[in-house]
């Protein structure tokens, strides 16, 4: 514990700026992955244990597209769409066969997908870690705000993830599709009765969730190494986010992602040896005090 250091940071503008920016960026990237997970759970009632693998695939698709085109924008698009398509495939050909069966089946199918994707990646891209590197056109000097450092690329990451989050909120709140999806989350039978094809809704939601994970993978490819098995640690953090935020709640996921982001950025100063532990502690606390999570419906 180094709480004097944390106090020092909280009273220093430069430190506050740097850590806040870092926390926001970490949190927003996490949010992209976790919101997909929570969306899929909310509508399909499925916990996609292979969600981390979709994140990983997004990064690999982005890497491949970047290698061919040299454009980061295309890379992100490729990562998002690639993961979305893969998610679509996964939902249509694998998960849709086990709807209505118990969690064990979901777990096993997802476990199999993790095993297979890790190996496929190894066969196609090699077992070694890969790195995209920050594209030259985005490699600009960091912003210095009040003495604090905000890397240029992080600012871009934050802007893009914020736009995606806003689009998601708008899509869920204001569009017909969003209303149907929310209705489906509450009562799948009702939506079917209204003559809306739940099959299409399920597939679309899974593809969107997968696409969000893919987008996070693609966006972070320049600054994180891309490696088979990269999905697992992301998956665990996304789980923690979903538990804290409440399963199925996108608003809760946003709040929880930011809480974890700030726990990481400020925790590394105040309690560097307990950052991981703190995340679990927050989760345990939420579970005890409010088992359905921050944004979850009570009693369901």
């Amino acid at each position: 514990m180094d709480l004097t250091e944390l106090g020092g940071c909280l009273s220093s503008l430069s430190c506050m700026v740097t850590q806040t920016a870092a926390g926001l960026t970490i949190g927003m990237l996490l949010f992209l992955v976790a919101s997909g997970l929570t969306l899929i759970f909310g509508v399909l009632g499925i916990v996609n244990f292979a969600h981390g693998s979709l994140y990983m695939m997004g990064a690999y698709f982005a890497l491949a597209a970047y290698g061919v085109s040299g454009s980061f924008v295309l890379a992100v698009v490729a990562g998002t769409l690639g993961a979305a398509l893969l998610g679509l495939f996964m939902e249509r050909f694998l998960l849709s066969r086990i709807y209505g069966q118990d969690v064990l089946m979901q777990l096993l199918v997802c476990y199999a997908v993790i095993l297979i994707l890790d190996d496929v990646v190894k066969i196609v891209w090699g077992g070694d870690f890969r790195s995209m590197g920050v594209p030259d056109e985005l490699r600009l000097p960091p912003f210095i705000i009040g003495g604090g450092i905000v890397p240029y690329f992080y600012a871009i990451l934050f802007a893009v993830t914020a736009v995606i989050a806003a689009a998601l909120a708008w899509g869920m709140g204001r569009t017909r599709f969003g209303r149907i999806v929310r209705a489906a989350a509450i009562n799948p039978g009702m939506v079917g009765a209204l003559g809306i094809n739940t099959t299409v809704i399920y597939a679309a939601v899974f593809a969107i969730g997968a696409g969000l994970a893919g987008a996070a993978g693609a966006l972070s490819a320049p600054i994180r190494s891309v490696v088979p098995g990269a999905g697992v640690s992301i998956l665990i953090e996304s789980f923690i986010v979903t538990v804290i935020g409440g399963m199925g709640s996108i608003g809760g996921a946003l709040a929880a992602s930011l809480i974890l982001g700030f726990t990481r950025s400020f925790g590394s100063i105040g309690f560097p040896l307990f950052v991981e532990g703190a995340m679990f502690a927050i989760m345990a606390l939420v579970l005890i005090l409010r088992p359905s999570g921050l944004g979850g419906k009570r009693g369901s």
């Binding site: 759970f41 009632g45 916990v47 244990f49 694998l94 066969r97 086990i98 069966q101 118990d102 969690v103 064990l104 089946m105 777990l107 096993l108 199918v109 476990y111 199999a112 997908v113 993790i114 095993l115 297979i116 890790d118 190996d119 496929v120 190894k122 066969i123 697992v232 665990i236 789980f239 923690i240 538990v243 399963m247 991981e276 532990g277 679990f280 989760m283 345990a284 579970l287 005890i288 088992p291």
Partner: protein
């Protein structure tokens, strides 16, 4: 009704006697001994996990935590040099039961999906504690220096043949015990909770207490598996408590079947043979195992023994 228990014990003793007779008669090959030890180890892991999944309806994705806990606490106690093996085993099981009690108390109230991934999360927490608490656990290098195996009651576990015999003994003992658990009134309560927790509460069961008890019992037997594992590799490693170990245990159960008591043991045997065969054949282990798993889950939709039993029952039903 306790006749079932006595009969099981008798069967177990015959199996053990046969195994030992085989060894004593000199029909031993070290690959058989190795297989016996590994079978005992993972058999315990799978069998105990099925008490949760098959009997109680709790799908835990964090069962390896107790496997790892058993291995580490046993290894650490033995390394102090002050404990005999039986005493250390009992103490290790007590530690494991305690861990299962704490985690279980937090998890068993939750709905099944929350339960699955919270057990997973706590397992990852234990895994990261093991990797970072280097002064105690040796971190990722595991418990170093080997685990002393002082002889007790004429049993010298440093010899593979003794260890295999001991492993088989532990497995048989646990099989009889777990079978009795499933068959007892307590087991009936667990099955009621699995079938319909709501109604179980209406007939007067405390769903929480019974689930927690099942969680602790299952964790403890997984801990015994961990003890055997640490004796086998003469150490303990963080991967024992890693999620992949839990995944493999679920895989084994799926290979065998959840509804037949001995299904997980059949699954363990198939898994180990499959694993050895695939490892010898290719380095694309995940691709093969994953595909087999998918075929099994999407094709049969149940474990092998479940599938066979259902067919057999259906045929019997058709005939009568």
């Amino acid at each position: 009704m306790s006749g079932g228990w006595l009969r099981d014990t008798a069967v177990a003793m015959v199996v053990l006697a046969l195994f030992l007779a085989f060894e004593l008669a000199g029909f031993r090959s070290s690959s058989l001994l190795d297989f016996a030890i590994r079978f005992a180890t993972f058999g315990l892991l799978a069998l105990s996990l099925n008490l949760l999944i098959g009997t109680t309806g709790l799908v835990s994705f964090g069962h390896a935590a107790y496997f790892g806990m058993g291995a580490y606490s046993f290894g650490l106690l033995m390394q102090t040099g002050a404990w005999s093996i039986p005493a250390a085993i009992l103490a290790a099981l007590a530690c494991t039961a305690l861990l299962a009690l704490v985690v279980g108390a937090l998890c068993v109230r939750l709905s099944e999906i929350y339960f699955a991934f919270l057990t997973l999360a706590f397992q990852m927490l234990l895994h990261s504690v093991i990797s970072s608490w280097i002064s105690l656990t040796g971190g990722d290098q595991g418990l170093m220096g080997g685990i002393p195996k002082p002889a007790f009651l004429g049993i010298d576990l440093a010899q593979p043949s003794h260890l295999a015999g001991f492993g088989v003994f532990c497995l048989l003992l646990s099989t009889v015990a777990l079978r009795q658990v499933v068959r007892s009134p307590f087991g009936a309560a667990l099955r009621m909770i699995r079938d319909n927790p709501d109604r179980a509460a209406f007939v007067g069961l405390s769903v929480f207490r019974y689930r927690l008890a099942a969680f602790v019992i299952a964790g403890t037997f997984a801990g015994l598996g961990g003890v055997l594992m640490s004796l086998y590799v003469s150490g303990a490693f963080p991967s024992f408590a890693f999620w992949t170990t839990s995944g493999e245990a679920i895989f084994m159960i799926m290979l065998g079947g959840v509804s037949v008591f001995l299904g997980p043991l059949v699954g363990t045997a198939i898994f180990l043979l499959l694993n050895d065969w695939i490892t010898a054949l290719t380095e694309h282990h995940g691709l093969f195992m994953g595909t087999i798993l998918l075929i099994l889950v999407l094709g049969l939709r149940k474990g092998l023994l479940d599938f066979i039993m259902e067919h057999w029952r259906a045929r019997k039903g058709a005939r009568s």
